[in-house]
Symmetry: none
Subunit: 253 residues, 2 copies
């Protein structure tokens, strides 16, 4: 099979048939062939072009702009590089948004009413606007949301402050150990690890050294967790993981 019909292409690249019709109508992606019955037939080249369109669309680029870009004489790699850069920018914007939300949350926890200044500072300007796409079902059903809700619900504002302070202290201990040049197997690092374990054990759920190892590995494997540590200090995620393993080792026997 060397060409594909609308339905096949649609499923392959996860777009609707109507979308393909639309792209044909506006000349953004006109299939190279038609069967005698008038069926649209897409070739390999058409698919490659469509793939570029799909990625650009995910990044919220208007169709006419995409058309202009694709009319240029850039090759596939050029487009991929551009797309990559765009995604990175968007990632930064989203991280900005997260920290704005965090600041707002902190304020809400302390029961301070939102002042006009705050609103402007937090959500007014600074963002180039428009981020998302898709993901309708995920709304309100995300695990992250549910867990965050059920866990934090039990805490009062004061508790939250306390927990946050403890967490900061633990992180500070890790950072201090790292910056002192001490290896992850040093006493200081292992002590920080033990502090970390007890913090979670006290505040959230029973956590023995074995499970602590699992958690440590996750800090490195899950980019979401990795990020929070890497933001504190480069190399911290791996350092924390190693320290936790070292600490678990010394607590064996």
């Amino acid at each position: 099979m060397t060409t594909w019909t609308v339905g096949q292409v649609a499923e392959l690249l996860d777009v609707t048939v109507r979308t393909l019709h639309h792209y044909d109508e506006i000349g953004l992606l006109v299939p190279s062939e038609r069967s005698r019955a008038g069926y649209r037939l897409y070739t390999d080249e058409d698919l490659t072009r469509l793939q570029q369109v799909v990625v650009y669309r995910r990044l919220e680029m208007p169709l006419d702009e995409i058309a202009t870009l694709l009319r240029g004489n850039e090759d596939a790699a050029d487009h991929l590089r551009r797309q990559r850069a765009t995604v990175m920018t968007r990632l930064d914007e989203l991280r900005e948004l997260v920290s704005a939300i965090d600041r707002a949350l902190e304020r809400a926890m302390n029961d301070q009413p939102a002042s006009t200044e705050d609103l402007k500072d937090l959500f007014g300007d600074g963002f180039t606007d428009e981020y998302e796409q898709e993901a309708q079902e995920r709304w309100g059903e995300t695990d992250a949301w549910k867990q965050s809700r059920s866990r934090t619900k039990r805490y009062t504002k004061a508790d939250w402050e306390q927990v946050k302070q403890e967490a900061d202290a633990v992180n500070a201990a890790f950072v201090a150990a790292l910056h002192s040049g001490a290896p992850a197997t040093s006493e200081a690092a292992m002590d920080a690890a033990e502090q970390h374990r007890r913090h979670i054990d006290d505040r959230f759920y029973d956590l023995d050294h074995t499970f602590h190892r699992g958690l440590a590995d996750m800090y490195v494997a899950d980019p979401r967790f990795t990020k929070t540590y890497e933001d504190l200090a480069p190399g911290l995620a791996a350092y924390v993981r190693d320290a936790i393993h070292a600490n678990a080792d010394r607590h064996r026997e």
Copy 2:
């Protein structure tokens, strides 16, 4: 000054006047006051509500859904937490996109033409009509199985490591809940159950809470599955089943 006009609000929160008119028209944000000349006057409370709307809009939520959410009895902090969780999910998706682009780039650099397979792997949600024998007896022709096949097919060894680690984390959560003495109906246990469901849902096949119940019952009924849980901790199989049912209950409403 205790109230603001459209223009002031618009500049403060970086929206257009027309947008405020629109929100008024559809009843999403009706200003609490009007001057005798008919000018819209926004109060502090109006601004707080608008700020929530603005953030939800940045996350591409449709206006009617935002309205539903804001009609609920959640407070500002609840909304902020939900928004945070959503942004995090979105961040994950974008990171996925980056790595997909990277893989495509790597291939393009090596001058290998993009095959249909690649396109599907990288940017589509592919489908497969493969069938297996030994599992077919167990699962028959269920959609779940087909999805599992097509989803797991794309995993590399590294991916599998990751999946395995996730599974371990879920099991550890169950064990932790059990050993803490918390009942299967506790939040900790239910959260573990939800984690379990999400893990399967993400990695293998779509799994709603109803089907999750069926799976839970099988864990107890089928000695093969019972064994894997009982090996981790005595009584765990039944505990897991009860936790899953409790979790499904709370998600029914």
